[in-house]
């Protein structure tokens, strides 16, 4: 019975999303759509990274590496899968959707595998040490792709077609994945596992003393977070129609960290807001020309001075909170 209700809710959400996407695609210029797509991809990155950096308190500064793994896998798998799928079900939107989602899942899996490889040995480390290991990983991945001739080397990978990878990244699929990632991360965060992750963040020694399997849980959070970055990478690849190693520089990892810090470390709502902020802020300031980067930096400084805990702190926007607010009752926790 519960499953039935949940399935119905999921179907309703997706149908609503599909309708909304159609309306937006019909009424909004492509430029605005592009910004919305980038915002969605940022949200996936930020919500994923927040699970490890915010909730678990383990600082990763190499997530661009996982994004790269996902992006390259997804682009390559998509290229090699599409002809077969199109042959089986006939070319069209359905074939594209199957190819894209299969490619995205494979991107998530390889990114998760990379997460296991990096996570298992290094999550025994704490604080700054983990940051250095992930930083190194991000750089190694980039250099590997830089020298991988079959994947285009430094020129990057854009498939067989000179016009680039197929434009599969549509509003519907980006936001469907946003819903999926947010749901998974939310369910993990508010489960027993999530409580244990928070315990690790607050005091790892105490958590260990309470028989929390700290290393195992850290690896779980890390791998989930890497998988989300992989999905975002795959969507990014098919939005840009091509990727190159330089797209996944250290700056990209830093951008992700800025998103979650602006939004509020440890808050899923905050990560969503931070991701959207990152995509929209610089585009809204286009009229300032070269000065927009100055104002952008100023904006970040102001946010940090006025709200050091980020826009949302560790609070969440939830149905329960809204209900309490509407009742005008006790303050939100």
């Amino acid at each position: 019975m519960r499953w039935l209700v949940r399935g119905a809710v999921a179907a309703a959400v997706l149908a609503g999303l599909l309708g909304l996407a159609r309306v937006i695609e019909g009424g909004l210029m492509e430029y605005a759509q592009r910004v919305l797509l980038l915002a969605g991809i940022n949200v996936i990155l930020a919500v994923g990274l927040n699970l490890i950096n915010g909730t678990t308190g383990q600082f990763s500064i190499g997530h661009a590496g996982f994004m790269a793994v996902g992006a390259y896998t997804c682009a390559w798998v998509g290229q090699h899968l599409a002809p077969g799928v199109a042959g089986a079900v006939g070319a069209g939107a359905i074939a594209d959707a199957i190819s894209l989602n299969a490619a995205l899942v494979s991107g998530a899996v390889t990114a998760a595998l990379a997460g296991v490889i990096v996570g298992v040995p290094s999550l025994r480390l704490k604080g700054d040490y983990l940051a250095i290991v992930t930083l190194g990983f991000g750089e190694i991945i980039r250099i590997v792709f830089n020298n991988w001739k079959a994947l285009g080397g430094a020129t990057g990978y854009s498939g067989e077609d000179p016009a680039g990878l197929p434009a599969w990244t549509t509003l519907f699929w980006v936001y469907a994945w946003v819903v999926v990632i947010i749901t998974v991360v939310r369910n993990v965060t508010f489960s027993q596992t999530g409580r244990s992750l928070i315990a690790i963040r607050e005091d790892e020694v105490a958590a260990e003393a309470m028989a929390t399997p700290t290393t195992r849980l850290k690896v779980v959070a890390f791998v989930l977070s890497a998988a989300a970055a992989g999905v975002a990478g795959g969507l990014f690849a098919h939005l840009q129609a091509g990727i190159r190693p330089e797209d996944f520089r250290l700056e990209k990892s830093i951008d992700m960290i800025v998103m979650i810090i602006v939004g509020g470390l440890g808050s899923i709502t905050g990560a969503v807001v931070g991701g959207v902020f990152m995509a929209v802020a610089l585009e809204l300031m286009r009229d300032l020309e070269e000065y927009r980067l100055v104002l952008y930096a100023l904006l970040l400084i102001l946010i940090m001075i006025l709200r050091p805990e980020g826009l949302f702190g560790s609070r969440e926007l939830s149905f329960g909170w809204l209900r309490r607010k509407a009742r005008g009752g006790e303050p939100a926790s």
Partner: protein, 394 residues
């Protein structure tokens, strides 16, 4: 309390924002659904979009190109514009980032309603930008992206410069025939497809002529220590080093070579073309040769006028990239004039029919692959300036 402070901060920000906002940019964007009139219809100014790295590590390239494009369009407007309409350049910054380059081109098409697009300098940014121009069927002319893949995107993407394989061939021919060099060491930037492409092209052209690549070394853009690579090169019998990198690294490499006593001739490509090369390299870079699009001191009357005008307006000599920016704008304007309007397909067709256009950087003819078929010059560094050495025909 917090509320009030936030309010003050927001007010300050919006004041700054309003203050910085350019007059011309005021007024909302003309939405994509606002009417049936396509871009270029009506009788007002016609927008030509330019996307460039106005900020970031290659900002010098973008700014130089932008200055030259604006000069060219001012000149066209001064003599009556195109079919009676004035042109207006709108520049959008890419920050040297691929996602922003794609944003920039989409914005130029949707918000600024550009009839055609100029840019980018870097091939890695012309690729994402060009894919969008091609999909939206808006003609794009890249002034100086030399990677062959850029114009392979499709029939709406053009360039007014030569491509990397040709540049590699030029330096190989020059080394063999003019400098009589047999053995060359290659020192390339392993992070840059430009550098790798040029190194490969050089090798492919140099070896069949009987030349020998004695050693290949690599560095990464931004490295500060090149002594290991240069020591390895010193221990071979190489007569010259081919360094197809960008000016900042090349300057530092020349310095290190001098310190280590490596007295070999340095050879390079158009990535060297910046006054900063001489600032960073100092005396160490003297005697080096590089291929380029344009030599300010051995120019045609047209080029001499461009150099003089640029100097009068901006106080410095233009680089080859600036000259290419001017040519890109002028080739586009010629095509619009020939097409008798701004309709995208007509302009595209006129661009593909460009024949013997007398540009600042030489005669430009579009080949069937939409690449400019033109000669290259080799420059020699003498006393902190690049002097014309020879011209190599395609």
């Amino acid at each position: 309390m917090i509320r009030r402070r936030t309010l003050i901060a927001l007010l300050t920000l919006s004041a700054v924002y309003a203050g910085c906002k350019k007059d011309g940019a005021a007024g909302g964007p003309a939405g994509a659904t606002s009417g049936s009139a396509g871009p270029g219809a009506g009788s007002g100014e016609v927008v030509v979009g330019h996307y460039a790295s106005m900020t970031g590590s290659e900002a010098h390239f973008g700014q130089d190109t932008d200055k030259a494009i604006r000069m060219a369009i001012d000149e066209v407007n001064g003599s009556g514009g195109v079919v009676g309409r004035k042109l207006k350049v709108v520049t959008v910054d890419t920050r040297g980032d691929a996602a922003e380059a794609a944003n920039a081109v989409t914005r130029l098409i949707d918000v600024e309603r550009s009839v055609a697009i100029l840019g980018e300098v870097a091939s890695s940014l012309s690729l994402p930008g060009g894919r969008i121009a091609q999909r939206r069927k808006i003609p794009m002319v890249s002034p100086s992206s030399t990677n062959p893949k850029v114009t392979e995107i499709g029939d709406y993407v053009f360039r007014v410069c030569f491509i990397d394989p040709f540049q590699g061939k030029v330096m190989a021919k020059f080394a063999k025939e003019n400098l009589k060099i047999e053995r060359v060491a290659v020192l390339k930037d392993q992070k840059s497809d430009y550098s790798i492409g040029l190194a490969d092209a050089f090798k492919a052209a140099f070896e069949p002529t009987g030349g020998k690549i004695v050693v290949e070394q690599s560095y990464s853009k931004g490295d500060t220590d090149f002594s290991a690579q240069l020591t390895a090169i010193k221990n071979t019998d190489a007569q010259a080093i081919f360094v197809p990198g960008y000016y900042t690294d090349v300057g530092a490499i020349a310095k290190t070579a001098e310190r280590l006593g490596v007295k070999l001739i340095l050879l390079g490509g158009d990535g060297w073309d910046s006054p900063d090369l001489f600032k960073i390299g100092g005396n160490a870079i003297n005697g080096a040769y590089f291929s380029n699009h344009f030599a300010p001191d051995a120019a045609t009357p047209k080029a001499k006028k461009f150099v003089a005008d640029f100097k009068a307006k901006h106080g410095v000599e233009p680089t080859g990239l600036g000259a290419l920016g001017w040519d890109a704008a002028m080739v586009l304007v010629e095509a619009m004039k020939k097409a008798g309007g701004f309709e995208a397909d007509a302009v595209r067709k006129a661009l593909s029919e460009t024949r013997d256009f007398e540009g600042v950087t030489g005669k430009i003819t579009m080949d069937p692959q939409r690449n400019a078929n033109k000669s290259a010059v080799v420059l020699k560094v003498v006393d902190g300036a690049a002097k014309y050495e020879t011209t190599v025909e395609p």
